[in-house]
Amino acid sequence: MDWTDIWTLAEAKQGKLHTVSFELLTRGRTLADARGCRLCSVVLGDAIPETELRELLARGADRVYVVDHPALARFLVEPHAKALRYLIETYKPEVLIAAATTTGRTVMPYISMQVHTGLTADCTGLEIDPETGNLLQTRPAIGGNIMATIKTPTARPQMATVRPKSTPPAPRDEARLNASLGEIVRVDVPESLLTARMRYERFIPDESQEVVIEDAEVIVAGGRGMKRGENFKLLADLAAMLGGSVGATRAAVDRGWQSYPRQIGLSGKTIAPNLYIACGISGAIQHLAGMQTAEYIVAINTDPDAPIFQVADLGIVGDVFEVLPAVLEKLKEI
């Protein structure tokens, strides 16, 4: 059997699909249309409701492969990797894309090694080469200094992870369901594959991560220019007004002003929010690498030569402690 079809790896937690699953369908739809093949989505989990699976069909999947088993209730690499590998070897997809989440960035490399194929991490662009039909995978590398386009010419499947939030979720199309487009295929994976040496004990929600900054549409971030931790209150106020979250540079995190889960840049998170407001941030290349794909960037800094202004759509050369309070006042009036 030939390697065919575009697959996306949906992510489910406690029976609910994560939005990134639908973002992957947006990517996958373009690729499947270019290849003239089916778009399939894979769901690994426990007691996933039929309505969730049908949601994938409504959003463009032609086929949904489901492995539903208690061993897949929580993410552990071994059973997830073995179940997915079983599906790959049984149905032979040409392309498999997953989200560059902690799950995707763990299970995808593990599998790619075992099935002996290439994997490109954290892609920002995916397209089909019209000549060869290969998947062209574009990603930032070397701290965002370059964009590299990579292919896997012969090994299959061609595997890639893509950044969450880098595309909108595929829209829901009720007509697809009414027309009974698409099918759900439940796959029984041999029990022997669904074992784990590692044990999942519990989950501790992190309140400081209540809004996961990777998911925030708006980020108000501060750097060394914020001068002290208490001053981040100003940023939190603005973030609250804009429905966003607070981020920080490495300099600010190293000084203990913010916690590491909020760090943006090479040694922290890569984010692509709709709006990024940089306050007292000079814009070291390592920081820019983590935020320069934001849709809109506003920067406030006293130094007119700060590199952050080169990536800003609106640059305010001034004192953040004068400008932000004035902005907050005006926003309150609206």
Binding site: R74, S112, I150, L266
Partner: protein, 265 residues
């Protein structure tokens, strides 16, 4: 406890040049450092060893000059180092790199734990750590922020994920990739530097390892670089200069107008 820490020598990321022909990095003339995220792996390994005894061996694949990275790890307190260096290893992608490192780790004998950094700051893939686990068929736990319990038969771990922490128990041997929160890396000591200076770093090539020659280097790599572009980062946005109190009001108005025009409020 026998702990292996695979590390990578990386260029200072602010100053990188690429070979436009091959799409690989030009390493000459660029300052090379230990991948900053690997320092956390080294620190985690040293703390474990200091707590329960054992040996920390660091291993790296790279050009002969990568010996410097291993010496730095020894200066921090690692017991010994091995360098995998041969022209046949050159051009390896993450698949071939993980394969080669895994074969070398097998050659080191019985191992209890492998600790990797989350990713390297140059390639930024984070794939080699999980890859080593896959090749060695060991349990894998990524994004580890704390090792909270150390027992004879395993470790209790905190795994930092979206929205919180997963508490995991793993038997040994296992592979971990660690994040920054695990511990802050120590500086090399004077005594460590002296030890590093005199430390002999064995250099292994394909002949020293039990390798499938078709699985190493560029020819053993499933991926190919098609092209390299400079990202366009400059946006040439509008600039507002605040010189006095009146300018503050103007700037704030501009800010609010900017948000309104783009339907951000």
């Amino acid at each position: 406890m026998r702990i292996i820490v695979p590390i990578k020598q990386v260029p200072e990321t602010s100053n990188v040049k690429m070979d436009p022909e091959t799409g690989t990095m030009l390493r000459t003339g660029v300052e090379a450092i230990v991948n900053p995220l690997d320092l956390y792996a080294i620190e985690a390994a040293l703390r474990l060893r200091d707590a329960v005894g054992g040996q920390v061996t660091t291993i790296s694949m790279g050009p002969p000059l990568a010996e410097k990275a291993l010496k730095e790890a020894i200066a921090m307190g690692c017991d010994d180092g091995v360098l995998l260096s041969h022209r046949k290893f050159a051009g390896a992608d993450t698949w071939a790199t993980a394969y080669t490192l895994a074969q070398a780790i097998k050659a080191l004998g019985a191992v209890d734990l492998i600790i990797c950094g989350e990713r390297a700051t140059d390639g930024d893939t984070g794939q080699v750590g999980p890859g080593i686990a896959a090749f060695l068929d060991m349990p894998l736990a990524t994004y580890i922020s704390q090792i909270s319990d150390v027992a004879d038969d395993g470790l209790r771990l905190n795994r930092m994920v979206e929205g919180g922490i997963e508490v995991l128990w793993t038997p040994l041997p296992a592979v971990l990739t660690v994040v920054k929160e695990i511990a802050s890396p120590r500086l090399p000591t004077l005594r460590g530097k002296q030890r590093a200076k005199s430390a002999a770093i064995p250099v292994w090539g394909p002949d020293e390892l039990n390798l499938d020659a078709t699985k190493i280097g560029l020819s053993g790599s499933p991926t190919r670089v098609v092209k390299i572009d400079k990202p366009k980062i400059a946006r040439h946005g509008e600039m507002v200069f605040v010189k006095n109190a009146a300018d503050v009001e103007v700037a704030a108005d501009q800010f609010v107008a900017f948000l309104r025009d783009r339907q951000l409020i």
